[in-house]
């Protein structure tokens, strides 16, 4: 929050004093972008750098041609070390990203990036001063021409054989480990596609030949003309693979979404969550994203971040029909269980597709919109008068301004309260649209009610909860219907977890039992209350409302929810109860319950950045 407010520069000296911190703030954005993409191979012609992007400027080219000369950006020559008695490396003026990698000549890159074959098939990571290289060196099978030439005596033109290749991304050394592993993932995906095309039609060999031919040509021209040029600039128009690599690099630096068609045939798609999931200036780490996705429940809803039409237009032609059906049926008022029924898919599929859409930044998880939802302004919302959001809102909803709307949510406001505006000129439907618009842009958070059982302490007891009281849920055998537990990306699960139709039949069977004070009911209540301490039991039984056996039974049944981790709507869903029933119960037992409102930590990830 404090970093946001420094965007309006009021005092000049403040800016200069904190330039370092602000620079590092901007650098954080660049930490998720690669500095360069490099393609190297190793084969019968030795180690070669086939292509790199961005390529060096002409001036730098000349200096790297002569191998004897040190790279102009080498830090600490021997002379420097002598001067500094401690041996500490002197702080050089920070180099730009391009200079960092441009300092490495083609030849040295070929040597260090084209590894030995025993490093193939695994993640390759090399750090040199401030640059980190990551790739996935891949072994190619020997092309059949070699075997043929052994048996076939007729002279064949010597085809240079490629043994291995590697698509390497150069990053800043202090890039986040999750970014590094994402880049490695992309490198691996491209490698798989290239390996496949190589085996099928020697695609890589052909492209390599073209690239080397251009490089040779340019070297010859340089020697005769004396005017240095970058061979890579000439390669681009001639080689599809070079253009693909350039496109991958450009996409990673901008949108974070990469879609390539290797050899115009195989699709490689990839997204960098760090660029896509940015809330309030920080990125959401993929692991946190995955953890949240595993905790979503059937009563949550999927809110698309684009319009249905725009989203469908982005899908590839051969995408899954289930995905299309889901997008068409999805709505902010429908929970995932209803969505499963409407789209005629099973719940696991819905969860998987929903997780996929969320991962790609196309949707977020919310609680389905309804009258009783209470919303409040998010602490990370940008409420500036001049923000692009304010402008977009004004265009979408002419005659209304965003700050005024947001001000209404300064205090928690339920949807029903919001829909009874003093200003009757606004249509009801449009108000709902506005709320959806604000939710999509993470301007609002939803508050839920959480309840905790805390009995007034007796005189002798200490004011703390004793150890045996803490694992309440386990002992009562709390039934919280969990999301299909094996929701990992792409792995199948057993069908048992899948069929979550209506909430637990067991607990609602209490409704079917004969009402009143039957011995069975009394025993059940006693069992449930047995998990409490003697003192707690006494206090609860002394409450006037406890004299009613039904109320007491309901209270005992819901006891395991009163640890502050289950909100009202979840209890309603699990126990098939109405909001009014629950609220009345809370009121009756208010002397032992403490109630508070805050956002749902499970989905608050989608609304606020992590600390």
């Amino acid at each position: 929050m404090y970093i946001h407010s420094s965007s309006f520069d009021l005092q000049g000296e403040r800016k200069s004093m904190y330039k370092q911190s602000e620079n590092s703030f901007f650098k954080r954005g660049e930490k998720t972008s690669p500095i360069s993409v490099i393609l190297v191979t190793s084969g019968s012609r030795g180690n070669k750098l086939l292509f790199r992007y961005p390529f060096q400027r002409v001036a730098d080219c000349t200096s790297s041609l002569t191998t004897k000369q040190r790279s102009p950006y080498a830090l600490n020559t021997t002379g420097d070390v002598l001067e500094d008695p401690d041996g500490d490396s002197r702080e050089q003026t920070p180099l730009t990203d391009q200079q960092l990698v441009a300092g490495f000549s083609d030849i040295i890159l070929a040597t260090i990036l084209a590894t030995k074959s025993d490093m193939c098939g695994k993640k390759f990571e090399l750090k040199i001063d401030n640059v980190r290289f990551v790739g996935h060196p891949t072994l190619l099978q020997h092309p059949h021409t070699i075997q043929v030439s052994k048996t076939d005596p007729s002279p064949k033109r010597e085809m240079p054989t490629m043994i291995l290749f590697s698509v390497v991304f150069a990053l800043r050394a202090n890039a986040d480990p999750s970014v590094i592993s994402c880049m490695h993932n992309l490198s691996r995906r491209i490698a798989i596609a290239l390996q496949h095309e190589e085996r099928r039609c020697q695609y890589l060999t052909r492209e390599a030949k073209l690239m080397l031919a251009v490089q040779d040509e340019v070297t010859n021209m340089t020697e005769t003309d004396g005017s240095p040029q970058s061979p890579f600039r000439q390669i681009l128009p001639k080689c599809k693979l070079a253009r693909d690599l350039k496109e991958a690099y450009d996409s990673l630096c901008t949108t974070g979404v990469v879609r390539l068609h290797i050899n115009n045939w195989l699709e490689v798609s990839f997204c960098l969550p760090h660029k896509i999931h940015r809330v309030g200036g920080n990125h959401v780490p993929p692991e946190a994203l995955e953890r949240s996705l595993k905790a979503i429940r059937p009563y949550h809803a999927l809110l698309l971040l684009d319009s249905e039409k725009a989203l469908l237009a982005q899908l590839p032609l051969d995408c899954s029909p289930a995905l299309v059906r889901l997008i068409k049926t999805c709505s902010a008022v429908k929970n995932l269980q209803q969505l499963a029924q409407d789209a005629d898919l099973n719940l696991l599929q819905i969860f998987q597709i929903a997780a996929h859409l969320v991962y790609w930044g196309k949707a977020i998880i919310v609680y389905p919109l309804c009258e009783n939802n209470v919303y409040m302004l998010s602490p990370h919302a940008n409420i500036s008068l001049y923000s692009p959001l304010a402008e977009a809102f004004g265009q979408q909803f002419p005659g209304h301004d965003l700050p005024s709307m947001l001000a209404k949510f300064s205090l928690p406001l339920s949807l029903s309260e919001f829909r009874n505006p003093l200003d009757a000129s606004v249509q009801e439907a449009q108000l709902i649209q506005m709320v959806v618009w604000m939710l999509q842009r993470r301007l609002l958070i939803q508050l839920h009610t959480y309840v905790c059982l805390l009995v007034p302490p007796s005189e002798e007891e200490p004011g703390l909860l004793r150890d045996e009281e803490l694992p309440l849920v386990a002992r009562v055998g709390g039934r919280s219907l969990s999301t299909p537990s094996a929701l990992s990306f792409g792995s199948p699960t057993s069908s048992d977890d899948m069929t979550l139709t209506s909430p637990s039949m067991d607990n609602s069977s209490a409704e079917l039992l004969p009402g009143g004070d039957s011995p069975l009911n009394r025993r059940m209540t006693e069992t449930l209350l047995a998990s409490l301490t003697e003192h707690e039991r006494q206090v609860i039984l002394n409450i006037p409302a406890a004299q009613s056996p039904e109320d007491l039974r309901m209270f005992a049944r819901l006891l395991h929810y009163f640890r502050g981790h289950h909100h009202l709507e979840e209890i309603m869903y699990n126990e098939n109860m109405r909001r009014s029933q629950l609220k009345t119960l809370f009121d009756k037992f208010r002397s032992v319950l403490v109630v508070t409102n805050h956002e749902d930590p499970v989905i608050s990830l989608f609304q606020s950045p992590l600390e």
Binding site: V81, L385, S410
Partner: protein
């Protein structure tokens, strides 16, 4: 090549990574970390050119080998420093090229390995006049920018720190850091320039000695966060909290009262309102320390007021402070107005709306 311990690097591993250890000239004096076969090698190749050496140059590299999963950032300065030291030693006394002194390398390497692993620091006596001292420095995250309206509060008892170890500025302001004075006030009372105070506090923030909370006023509004449940779940937080918020000289407050107080903080409720509604619970609780602890542990968060001028008049000047980017705290600090004054001024202006977040 010398290895300590002998068996840790296999022949195959060395063959694979050889090109990164004894390198081409272009890579000399660069810190190189390579990961292969489950191991990570960190080294800094050095080349000294001189006629006296066979092949006219001496190439060497003292590296550290770790498990591939280790975070090795802290080791890098050590490797760099060592390479510098060895270079100096070689240039001054031919330490590495001399057959006799070369034998000392193995025991030095053993000591290095043992002591770094044990304590994170080591002292290597080389000969009568030279000793190398090395220490692993923990890498920390960049601290936030400290604003004039932030309030620093010690995360541990102030007396734990040996004051003489800190710089003069910090020593001068230490007494004024009480968890209630904000930066501007500290600067005024300690008679230290504002930006110096900010930098000193930022430094303390970096080392985790202090954390920042907001100014306390009885008109402040707070609300709970999901973390408030940790007061119920976590025994150690309970203990710490109850000890912290209990009024001096009173019997320790009970959990229920404290939890009720935190849950009583809601949007629209000021601290003053809380005090009147929950006076019974506050008998043994100091409300200022309650709020302070809640903010430090993120059990509660402050709701700040942000004025926004939604003017319709094209001719008037664009707002400078009433843009939705500056809270009341910030505006009052910068302009010297009190909250009440600012409130009165803004309430009379029909073009200004206020957002709380």
């Amino acid at each position: 090549m010398k290895k300590v311990p002998e068996e840790y690097i296999s022949r195959e591993l060395f063959d694979t990574v050889q090109v990164y250890i004894i390198t081409k000239p272009e890579l000399q004096n660069k810190l190189i970390t390579v990961t292969a076969m489950g191991k990570k090698l960190i080294g800094c190749p050095v080349c000294i050119e001189h006629k006296k050496y066979s092949r006219n140059a001496l190439l060497f590299n003292l590296g550290l080998v770790c498990d591939a999963r280790t975070k090795t950032c802290a080791l890098e300065p050590i490797v760099k420093k060592l390479s510098g030291y060895l270079t100096t030693l070689e240039l001054e006394s031919g330490f590495i090229s001399n057959e006799e002194s070369k034998q000392k390398l193995l025991p030095i390497m053993s000591t290095l390995l043992e002591e770094l692993n044990a304590t994170g620091a080591c002292t290597l006596p080389i000969d009568e006049s030279n000793t190398i001292n090395l220490k692993l420095i923990e890498q920390r995250r960049d601290p936030l920018i400290v604003q004039e309206y932030d309030v620093p509060v010690f995360t541990q008892c102030k007396d734990h720190f040996i004051k003489s170890q800190w710089d003069l500025t910090t020593q001068q302001i230490l007494a004024y850091i009480d968890g209630f004075r904000h930066i501007q006030k500290i600067s005024a009372e300690a008679d230290v320039e504002l930006n110096l105070v900010r930098i000193a506090v930022q430094n303390l923030l970096y080392y985790g000695v202090v954390t920042l909370v907001s100014i306390f006023q009885y008109s402040n509004v707070y609300c709970t966060t999901p973390t408030v449940q940790s007061l119920i779940d976590d025994r150690s937080i309970q203990e710490e909290c109850l000890n912290y918020v209990t009024k001096k000289g009173q019997k320790r407050a009970c959990l229920r009262d404290v939890f009720q107080l935190y849950c009583g903080l809601t949007p629209g409720t000021t601290v003053r309102d809380l005090c009147s509604r929950y006076s019974q619970q506050l008998q043994r609780v100091d409300e200022r320390r309650l709020i302070q602890y809640g903010l430090m542990k993120a059990l509660i968060r402050r709701l700040q007021k942000y004025p926004v001028k939604v003017t319709r008049d094209e001719r008037s000047r664009p707002p400078r402070l009433y843009t939705g980017c500056h809270s009341y705290d910030e505006i009052c600090c910068k302009t010297g107005m009190s909250y009440k004054e600012l409130d009165e001024r803004l309430e009379n202006d029909p073009n200004i709306i206020v957002c709380w977040k």
